[in-house]
């Protein structure tokens, strides 16, 4: 499943293996905000990509359709350090017209997230 151009700009790619919704973003100077820490916008960008990939997979298995983002809320929990970040999206509800999606980002330990996001998407069924 092809990632959007913004994912390529950030170096975001699927980890591979049997979970296509698990993404990673390697550390880079171009992702930093204050010295030594990832910019919140880069973390938010990764969370959005994880949400989109999870929703596209869920939608593909449910008749397909187009998605339009309505809103996103990001909670920042810990500073992101200069190391690889991982993220996974979860479709909480896939309805006929609206989808609720959550995404979580972590570095060393999935139980200690650095940020999480909730998103609402409009679904346009084919």
């Amino acid at each position: 499943m092809k990632l959007p151009p913004y994912a390529d700009l950030l170096g975001i790619a699927p980890v591979g293996g049997n979970d296509p919704t698990l993404l990673t973003m390697p550390s880079a100077y171009t992702l930093l905000g204050r010295p030594g820490y990832l910019h919140g916008g880069a973390i938010g960008g990764l969370l959005e990509m994880a949400a989109i990939i999870a929703l596209r997979h869920a939608l593909a298995a449910d008749g397909g359709g187009q998605i339009k983002p309505i809103n996103v809320t990001v909670d920042f929990m810990r500073g992101g350090r200069e190391k690889s970040t991982f993220a996974r999206g979860t479709v909480t509800r896939l309805g006929g017209r609206v989808a609720n999606v959550e995404a979580i980002a972590w570095q060393d330990d999935a139980a200690k997230p650095i940020a999480a996001a909730r998103m609402n998407y409009l679904i346009v069924r084919g």
Binding site: L31, H39, G41, G45
Partner: protein, 154 residues
């Protein structure tokens, strides 16, 4: 000798040499400011598209710009730099960005307490009356608490 009264935080001066890191990757620059707001400029690039079907910009560049604009709006309002961390930031996508047009992000700080500052803002691509995104968020100061110069509570 240090001046008894250091100059107030000036966002234009703060950004006169541009930004580094992620802000530089996106090409963010200063555009304008007022007593409690800062407006930044994000040049349009096809690489910033987050959804090929709709052509909508990814939330990352808008988050990055609005995080910076609202962050600097806090320092502009209190007149000095104070370290703080973003607690949360929400974006409502009001309409798709027009392909090819630069995006402007105006962040405003509308309330400051001892430890929390409340911010909001809008992103537009030329006409502030026709915004493409609305944002709201909070920051927490990470230095020692001080008596707020404005506001109370928390």
């Amino acid at each position: 000798m240090f001046p008894a009264d250091p100059p107030a935080f000036d966002p234009q001066r703060f950004l006169r040499y541009g930004v580094g890191g992620h802000g530089r990757l996106l090409g963010l620059t200063y555009h304008a400011h007022g007593p409690d707001w800062v407006e930044l400029h994000l040049p349009y690039r096809a690489e910033l598209i987050g959804d090929l079907d709709s052509g909508v910009l990814a939330s990352g560049p808008i988050l990055t710009m609005m995080d910076m604009a609202t962050s600097m709006a806090v320092w502009t309002r209190i007149g000095r730099f104070r370290p703080h961390a973003t607690l949360d930031l929400r974006i409502d996508y009001l309409r798709p960005a027009t392909p090819g047009k630069a995006v402007f992000g105006r962040g405003e700080c509308y309330r400051i307490t001892r430890s929390i500052s409340f911010v909001r803002g809008q992103a537009h691509d030329g006409d502030p009356a026709d915004p493409l995104a609305h944002v709201a968020g909070t920051f927490m100061f990470t230095d020692a608490p001080v008596e707020p110069s404005v506001g109370a509570g928390a």
